[in-house]
Symmetry: C2
Subunit: 295 residues, 2 copies
DNA sequence: ATCGCCTAATAGGCGAT
DNA sequence: ATCGCCTAATAGGCGAT
C-alpha cells in the first residue's frame, strides 16, 4: 500500500505543484474564499456558537469536582483550562455546519491538525482551473484575557512547506524555514505537504485556517465566575508554496514566522513558531478577521 | 455563570436521577438503540469508512519523511502510530453521518471524550418518558494486530459514576469504583456525571459508545507495507447509574472493570482501568459488536 | 492471560527580561 | 513587547511474568 500508486501520484503532484507555483493567485483565491466562508458561517450562527461555548460555565456544578488541573509555569489558580470548550463548540461545530454546504471526506492521515478533511465543491472551480477539492486543515487556538497576543503558535504538523518530491520512490520533504524574532531566531521544520494527491487522482491543495476563540475571566472584573466567549479570530496562514516559492512571502516578510513557545529541550524538528498577525494583515486584510461577541 | 441556574439544575437533576434509578430499563433502551444505530450507520457506509481509513497508507509518500515517532516501551520499529487515522476516518466520520439523522449541539465542557455532543431525536421519546436528548460520549480506541485484546482502556474522564449532588451550592461528585483483576486491583475515580442538566432544563443522560478500529500490519504477512482496517468493534459501556445503582452491574460483575495500563507514578485519581468485553457481553450481547471488513 | 512499563504529541498560561 | 519556561491529559505498543 505504501508503494502503490506512487508513479501516478508523483506525476499528478509534480504537475499540480508547478501549476500552482505559476498561478499563485488561484491558491490565494481559494484561501480567501474559505476564510470568508468561515467567517460568514460563524456570523450567521453566532448565537449558537456563543450559547454552546458559554454552556460550559453554566455546567460548572457537573465538572467542578473534576476540573482540568492547572499547568505550565506558576499558574495563578484563578483560570480553568478551557481548551476543550473551544475545540468542540467552535471547531467541531464549524465542521458540522460546513457539511451542509460542501461534500466532506475524512481522509486518513497519521498526523496533522485537529480538524482536517477533504472539502469538495463546485464553487472551487471558478477560483482555480485544477481542482474542485481542497484539504482543509483547521486548529482551534484558545486563549484567555492574559494571553490574547497578536499571534498564534503553530507546530510543524500545522505548517505546509515547499513540498519537494523528486522521484516516485523517494518521499516528499520540505526545506527548513526560519523563525526570526527581534532578539532571537530558530529553525522551523514544516511537516505538511502543500498539496495531497489521493489514490483516485484528486488534487487537494492544503488550506490552513485557524480559529482563535478568546474568552473572558469574569472573576477579573466582578464577583461572578465564568469564562464566556469574548470574540473569535479567524486566521488564514498561507500555503507552503505561497510562503516559499511564489510570491515567496517568507522572503518579503522574514519575520512572518518568529520564535515560538518551546524551551531548549525540544527537538529542533519539533519546535513551534509564532505567526505574526500584523504581517498576515500586510499580506491581505482577510487573513486576520475578528468576530466580536455582543455582550 | 458558575452559580446561575444551580437551583433549577439541581432540582431537575435530582428528579431525573431518581427516575432513571427507578427505571433503568429506559436508560438501557437508549444505550441499545444508539449502539445498534452506530453499528447500522457504519455498516451502511462501510465502503467509505474503509476507503478513507486505508487512504492513509496510500498517502505514505506525503508523510513518510515525518512519521509519528515510536513511543512506549521497546517499540519494535515496524509499526506506525495510527491513532489519528481512526479518530478522523472512523470517529469524526461517524459524527458527521449521525448529523443527517439527528439534531446535534456541541455543548461546551472543559473535559471529556474526543467526540461528545448533545443528540436530540423524537426517536428517544419511545424509549424513555423523560427526555428527547442524550449526551453521547464517544472515543476511538485504535489497536494493531499485536494488541487486539478483549478490552478497552478508559480514563476517568470517559467513565460516568453514581452522580451524588446533595445541595445546589455543592458540586456533583462520584463515589470511587474498584478495578479488580486476578492478580491485582486498584481504585477508579470516575469524573463524568451520569446525566447533565442544561441551562434550558434539557435532561441529557450520558451514553458511552467506544469505537475500536483494529488494523493489520501487512509487513507481518507479506512484503507489502501498510496498515489497513481489519474490523471495527463498537463497545457500549453502561451509564454510571446502571453500574452503581440499579441494576448495579459492578456488584454483579465485580471484574467488569479491571486494572488498566498506567504505572505506579500516576496519581490515583487519574488511573485508567480496563473494561472486560466478556463481561460486557454477559450484560447484553449488543454491548460488543464487531464489524468485519471484507478483504 | 495479566497488568503495567514506557514515551510522543498537543496546548497555552504566564513569568522573566 | 519578546520569547521561552513549564506541566496536564491522551494513547496504545508491547514486554515481563
Amino acid at each position: 500500500m505504501f508503494n502503490e500508486h506512487r508513479e501516478m501520484m508523483h506525476e499528478v503532484y509534480t504537475h499540480a505543484r508547478n501549476y500552482f507555483i505559476q498561478n499563485p493567485q488561484e491558491l490565494i483565491a481559494l484561501e480567501e474564499y474559505l476564510a470568508n466562508k468561515t467567517v460568514n458561517i460563524i456570523r450567521q450562527n453566532l448565537e449558537e456558537f456563543v450559547s454552546d461555548y458559554n454552556e460550559a460555565s453554566f455546567l460548572n456544578p457537573f465538572w467542578a469536582s473534576y476540573p482540568p488541573e492547572d499547568r505550565g509555569r506558576k499558574p495563578r489558580g484563578d483560570q480553568v483550562p478551557w481548551i476543550e470548550v473551544g475545540e468542540h463548540s467552535i471547531g467541531h461545530k464549524l465542521t458540522r455546519l460546513m457539511n451542509s454546504e460542501y461534500t466532506i471526506r475524512e481522509i486518513g492521515l497519521p498526523s496533522g491538525s485537529d480538524d482536517r478533511f477533504l472539502l469538495k465543491s463546485n464553487d472551487f472551480e471558478s477560483l482555480n482551473k485544477l481542482t474542485n477539492s481542497v484539504m482543509l486543515f483547521s486548529d482551534v487556538k484558545s486563549v484567555g484575557p492574559r494571553d490574547d497576543a497578536e499571534h498564534i503558535v503553530l507546530s510543524p504538523y500545522q505548517i505546509s512547506g515547499d513540498g519537494i518530491w523528486n522521484t516516485p520512490s523517494e518521499n516528499m520533504y520540505n526545506n527548513k524555514m526560519q523563525a526570526i524574532g527581534k532578539k532571537s531566531a530558530h529553525e522551523v521544520w514544516p511537516a505538511i505537504p502543500p498539496l495531497y494527491i489521493l489514490q483516485n487522482g484528486t488534487i487537494a491543495p492544503v488550506i490552513h485556517i485557524y480559529l482563535k476563540p478568546v474568552y473572558n475571566m469574569l472573576s477579573l472584573e466582578s464577583s461572578k465566575h465564568g469564562q464566556p466567549l469574548k470574540k473569535i479570530r479567524v486566521i488564514t496562514v498561507p500555503n507552503g508554496l505561497l510562503l516559499t516559492q511564489n510570491p515567496n512571502y517568507l522572503s518579503t516578510y522574514p519575520s512572518l514566522f518568529y520564535p515560538g513557545k518551546d524551551d531548549k529541550s525540544k527537538a529542533p524538528r519539533k519546535v513551534r513558531c509564532r505567526v505574526s498577525f500584523d504581517l498576515l494583515r500586510s499580506l491581505h486584510t482577510w487573513r486576520v478577521q475578528d468576530i466580536e461577541v455582543e455582550i
